[in-house]
Amino acid sequence: MFSFIARRLLVAVPTLLILIVISAVLMHAAPGGPFNSERKLSAEVVANLQAKYGLDQPLYVQIWTYIRDLVLHFDFGPSFKYKDRTVNDIIAQGFPVTLVYGFWSFVIATILGIGAGVIAAIRQNTPTDYLVLSVAIIGAVLPGYVIAPILVLVFTLKLGWLPGGGWEDGEWRYLVLPVIALSTGYIASIARLMRSSMLETLNSNFVRTARAKGLPEWKVITRHVMKPALLPILSYLGPVFVGMITGSVVIDMYFSTGGIGKSFVDSALNRDYSVMLGVTLLVGALTIVFNLIVDVLYAFIDPKIRY
């Protein structure tokens, strides 16, 4: 197991390097540049800007400098758009925000999603099942940009219970609406996934054996069905967790949280190369780590898996 983890972490290094190179090449291949404006800037001004940010160098030199600064100083470079901030500043400010609302959304989506899926599966083809399924479908098809304004309209304007946006260092009142908006879709998909996985397990032979032994149904479910039914959910949850803690542009836009999700999308639109690369790397590294965690968890849950 230990050598498995070590091996996977070693492979992560070239993976991230390849990620940097591919992202940098693609970004520079995209038309437009970070300093485009309505007024065509004079050649001198463009030259000054490019020299300041090192864009006058050939691409391979830029990539090499980037990797060198990253490895030696953990420096992700300056932002081209946010001129008094570095990419480190932007991530340091935005990532904790999305980490908090993403984490809570994940916890809630997982608990409610699995719970609803289990109930629906046990009560298959009953009104309870249909209710869970219909709610799940509605939740899955309603995008965040529809839910978010509705939440603000109801809880901020009509009821006056919660603020319509802002972050205030994650004070709970500012956390509620973003978490509801972000988790709704995930609750729905986790519930549907859990339901079908449960049904599949419920129909398997070992469950029939357990029932034949005369075990009470609750024991069958908790001891024999839950663990194998959770496996497909687990591999789904790894990337979902990364997706949630690295933020959502919809949440950041509608709730003014200052999170990293919007910075990421903006950086792509603004051709803010260094921010785009920095956030891509962050997401890439987190994805590698959490996929590894999922694989390790698999070994614990499924006795058939050995590394």
Binding site: A30, P31, G32, G33, F35, N36, S37, E38, R39, K40, L41, S42, E44, V45, N48, L49, A51, K52, Y53, P78, K81, Y82, K83, D84, R85, T86, I90, Q93, G94, A148, P149, V152, L153, T156, L157, G160, P163, G164, G165, G166, W167, D252, M253, Y254, S256, T257, G258, G259, K262, S263, L269, N270, R271
Partner: protein, 537 residues
């Protein structure tokens, strides 16, 4: 509208009066809590005056820094950092007397050297400001050479004669030079703070400014908070204790948060102005802005389409656009139909009565058909063109409507939507046929629009070339009263039609009824927190 152009500056010719501050009406009873919260549609990109490009940045920086002049509610110049000035007989040397009591928020006096430092910093290649050209526009001596790295920043034509006397040398007797001095690019900055903190000098607690407020909190993408600066020279007249600037990227959400009392003023979302102005006239207002929306017609000899080289075709395309429908039915926020590039709201500018503006739309459409058939385009042999626009619901609605107007006169318009960075590249490379564009003035004078289409302008993406036009604009730089030239230049534009003016912007906003002193009529939307106050209701 691309906001990152619109930096506000100074207005009109009136003599600068006494310093402006909150002038509380004797009949008003002040509210117990004096705070104000303002809406920003985008997060602040920088608070470094010499690097600022966006309206949002300017809105905040204006509270933290004070330049030689500020503007009053209608945009007239008001003495701020300067208390007087003299100008040489050739009108090329200005000498400003600075306010002796002005202080930085750390207690240092504001001196002429602070202005010199800031102005040199703007053009210094090491700063790499994308607004460096503003100093060239101001005609300050050696600006161009410094930007190009041919001369050191120290040779810029600005000098401190003593601590309280600033001298500026120009290369032409620019008649509106002083009007350009309230722009954020030329705000003074505190050298010692910048040198000690580098890029981090604009952080709360570090930033040293000379404005009526200091920066106490800044969470990019969420909010910025400014608090009254006790060392500000006119602090006694300030009423509002603190102001917050909340970033809300969606106009409808912003409106909801205004309704919930979280914001004190917001822009009115598209389409809601007619109803709100009827239902809640005390809060809703609409006023002209110094911005124009137009379509570019590419006349580039090699890259532009053949048809657009024919002036009659260009005229037909302009005539066929029913601006009234666009304004009344599509935009619905009180915008003004445009037949000229310069908005009527610009100080001192008289809109010439260009002939097609006075025709009925029916007559214009008939004329468009006639001009097109003269050029050889008929319903059987229709003119086919492509319009590029950058992704936005608003641009799309206008483009779709224009497509319909063109269909009626037998022109087939294909719509081509693309992201802004690509759109701007294509415009500057002149590899388009028609393209959406817009401009917001940088200072309150018609030349901020008309200079765009001189043959040497960096903005002339249509390859427009008219020697008479160039001469009118060149002459206007040295004339006592350049207004007649501006009028003539507009007449030439209407005759040559290198662009299709579509509408002039308005700013329609909601403002809480207990807020006083907000300048609703300023064409740049320039406002100062220190002039506001709230009354007890």
């Amino acid at each position: 509208m691309k906001k990152h152009l619109l930096l506000s500056t100074i207005l009109s010719l009136s003599l600068a009066g006494s310093a402006f501050a909150a002038t509380v009406d004797a009949a008003d009873k002040l509210a117990g809590t004096q705070t104000f919260s303002y809406w920003l549609i985008d997060s602040i990109t920088t608070l470094d005056p010499q690097l600022i490009e966006s309206v949002e940045d300017s809105d905040v920086a204006r509270q933290l820094f004070e330049g030689l002049y500020t503007e009053d509610g209608t945009g007239d110049l008001v003495d701020a950092g300067a208390i007087g000035y003299t100008v040489s007989d050739d009108k090329m040397t200005y000498t400003f007397q600075l306010r002796p009591e002005a202080k930085w928020s750390n207690g240092d006096p504001v001196t002429a050297n602070d202005y010199v430092y800031a102005w040199q910093r703007l053009v210094d290649p090491a700063t790499a400001s994308s607004y460096a050209w503003y100093m060239e526009l101001m005609q300050v001596a050696n600006a161009t050479a410094v930007i190009a790295g041919e001369k050191p920043p120290a040779e810029l034509g600005v000098k401190a004669l003593d601590d309280l006397t600033l001298e500026v040398k120009l290369i032409t007797p620019l008649p509106y030079f002083r009007k350009m001095l309230a722009h954020s690019s030329v705000l003074p900055v505190h050298k010692a703070t910048i040198e000690a903190n580098g890029q981090k000098w604009t952080e709360p607690g570090v930033l040293v400014g000379n404005g009526a407020y200091t920066l106490t909190e800044h969470k990019p993408g969420e909010k910025a908070v400014v608090t009254r600066n006790p060392l500000y020279w006119n602090n006694a007249a300030t009423v509002i204790e603190s102001g917050s600037f909340l970033t809300v990227n969606d106009e409808n959400i912003a409106f909801t948060r205004y309704e919930a009392g979280e914001l004190d003023t917001v822009g009115i979302p598209t389409g809601m102005y007619p109803q709100l102005s009827k239902d809640r006239p005390a809060e809703a207002s609409s006023a002209p802005r110094a911005c124009t929306y137009y379509y570019l017609l590419n006349m580039d000899a090699g890259k532009g389409p053949e048809a657009l080289k024919n002036v009659n075709v260009r005229k037909a395309l302009s005539y066929a656009v029913d601006r009234d429908i666009l304004v009344d039915k599509v935009l619905q926020s009180g915008q003004i139909p445009a037949y000229t590039l310069t908005p009527a709201a610009m100080a001192g500018f008289t809109v010439p009565s260009v002939d097609y503006a006075t025709m009925t739309q029916e007559a214009r459409s008939e004329e468009a058909k006639r001009l097109l058939s003269e050029a050889g385009y008929t319903p059987e042999n229709p003119l086919k063109l492509t319009l590029n626009y950058n992704t936005s619901e608003g641009h799309k609605s206008i483009a779709v409507a224009v497509q319909q107007f063109y269909k009626a006169v037998g022109v087939e318009l294909t719509l081509n939507n693309m992201e802004w960075q690509v759109h701007s590249d294509i415009m500057h490379e002149r590899t388009y046929e028609l393209a959406r564009s817009a401009w917001c003035g940088d200072y309150n004078e018609a030349s901020t629009f008309l200079d765009l289409f001189t043959s040497s302008s960096g903005f002339n993406d249509v390859a427009y070339l008219n020697a008479d036009y160039d001469k009118l604009m060149a002459d206007s730089k040295t004339m006592e009263d350049p207004q007649p030239n501006y009028t003539k230049a507009e007449e030439i534009l209407a005759a040559d039609m290198p662009i299709i003016p579509i509408y002039h912007y308005t700013s329609s906003r909601m403002l809480k009824t207990d807020v006083r002193g907000y300048p609703k009529k300023n064409v740049f939307g320039t406002w100062y927190l220190k002039e506001l106050y709230r009354v007890a209701e």
